[in-house]
Assembly symmetry: C2
Homo-oligomer: 328 residues x 2
């Protein structure tokens, strides 16, 4: 059973593997391999029952979960420290039955189904009062933290605590709303559309832009134009619009940056108590869900580690221009 | 002139390069090279005057600075956003005249001089009321964000704002002190020495341990046993003790993990107004300086990016045991 542990200083939680822990020597020279279709675990018919099937898309429990339902969340003190069993759900979304590596190369309908699937799983977790946050995200390529299997998939983590980065974002958005009585993200979209130097593309429902204070080269945010704090509710009926803008962006990455590794993370509001917002009563007004999409082209170094202050070697206006001009 | 920009949501500052910005195409296939002594810029006599010379150790202004004294810190609004010229100091500490890559292989006396040098530069910046924070840190190896030059060096950044991670740490330490009227780090050392499962080694002045909630495999904290919030004051007279424990740790990394890339960052208190603590009047009691040392063996993936919640694939008790048993 993996443990989660709380860092005393910055209230950050950490998962610590136990049974599935790697031996120290295993870090010395990590195994590198890439898998063809014949050896791909996601091409074989699975012995496991999927948690959900949505067209071509299937969701499975992770074979090596960092969260599980084996033991309930139960915080225990060890002197100054605190631990708990790592209660929650760790799911793999297999995006296609075909051995296609990059989501960019999936048909539009399949990408739409992937986002629909995230929403469906989130709504199921939403009803569970032991779950505080659900993150749907993708690691594509070894530099993005993925194993080199070459079969498009993403992950869903349902966790029993509200993560620090989510709290930081909520706090920031609330501070702005408290003062202005307007949503920070709605104001930001308005300013970005007027300025246009950081806008990459838009469709009816979404805008894709490089954030003003981008941490990483080619960092992109995809923001819904209609205010909604919650991904599952926000995309209902607009899944095809999201799929369209994401496919377009991912193809531009593939063509313009020669198939880079990338991550995306869906930044939705936390929830609790079966759908209510007891801890965040004003979150529906304050917060605005969005997606962060970042190719992995540089390394985070000591300065970022020591300060949380990032160094970005290229202005976001330049990367927006570059991505606007890619022909696919 | 690089800019620094503030992220509206989490109050995080970002440096954005302008003149020294890389072209978008430069990210497509980064140049990889390693430099022998004949081509090493740090082996040649420098045309620049050093900012400071301390035995074998020389400090220079960075040739490609992210902070400079060309224009003063001056926050300006652009609609919702804010920018400023990137006022500050970006310095390179050349640790030896010899072409030795890893600090582990320097003589003990030279390592001592490196830490002394950080303290000297910090004390100089300490007198400058435009500087809020100074970070001394090292990137060793490409995976740690260094260029592959193969000549031991580290960096000092003096910045005009107090970085988010520093604030988070101070806030956490203060919260603990406010309740217990004891220093969090002093209590932590006491508990760790009693437990001993995460202690790697100790000398008269310092303890080296893997933190309870380690974010990364083989993450190590080096903490002074005597309470002090400030690196420069804290190590005065104990530089040799710090050099000894750091050399020992770095040699154990080199032998046990086969010369991995690593970063270390010195986490000292911020300062302002020529040495006073107007904004943090109780920081001398609340905070306790320390060093974070982390080999770069894994990649941060989407989950960490999206939540600030880390996944560590090996328990710190296992890595402490491994590092304790390395024979050098």
């Amino acid at each position: 059973m993996p443990q989660i542990r709380k860092d005393l200083i910055v209230s950050r939680w950490v998962i610590v593997a136990t049974e599935r822990a790697r031996r120290p020597a295993a870090f010395v020279d990590p195994v590198k391999h890439s898998t063809d279709s014949a050896h791909c675990p996601f091409c074989k018919p699975s012995a496991e029952q999927p948690l959900l099937t949505n067209g071509q898309v299937k969701v499975f429990k992770s074979g090596t979960p960092f969260f599980s339902d084996a033991q309930p969340f139960n915080r225990q003190k060890h002197g100054l420290y605190e631990t708990s069993p790592s209660w929650g759900s760790h799911e793999v979304v297999v995006e296609s039955p075909d051995h296609i590596a990059n989501m960019a190369d999936l048909p539009l309908e399949d990408i739409q189904k992937v986002f629909e699937t995230y929403a469906k799983r989130m709504e199921i977790h939403h009803k569970d009062h032991t779950i505080r946050y659900v993150l749907a995200y993708k690691n594509y390529g070894v530099a993005a933290g993925s194993r080199p299997i070459g079969h498009a998939r993403s992950q869903i983590m349902a966790v029993p605590v509200n993560p620090i980065r989510v709290k930081d974002k909520i706090t920031g958005a609330k501070r702005y709303f408290d003062f202005h009585e307007r949503c920070l993200f709605c104001d930001l979209i308005q300013q970005e559309r007027k300025d246009s130097s950081r806008v990459i593309l838009e469709n009816r429902e979404f805008i894709a832009m490089t954030p003003f204070a981008s941490r990483f080269p080619f960092e992109v945010w995809v923001i819904p134009k209609r205010h909604s704090c919650n991904f599952a509710q926000g995309i209902a009926g607009n899944e095809n619009q999201l799929a369209q803008i994401m496919k377009e962006l991912l193809l531009r990455f593939k063509v313009g940056l020669k198939d880079p590794a990338y991550n995306y993370v869906i930044q939705s509001a936390p929830f609790e108590n079966g759908g209510g917002y007891k801890r965040y009563p004003t979150i529906e007004e304050d917060y605005h869900w969005h997606i962060e999409l970042t190719p992995r082209l540089t390394r985070v170094a000591g300065f970022e580690r020591g300060t949380g202050f990032y160094i970005n070697p290229i202005p976001p206006e330049k990367t927006a221009e570059f991505l606007r001009e890619i022909k696919i």
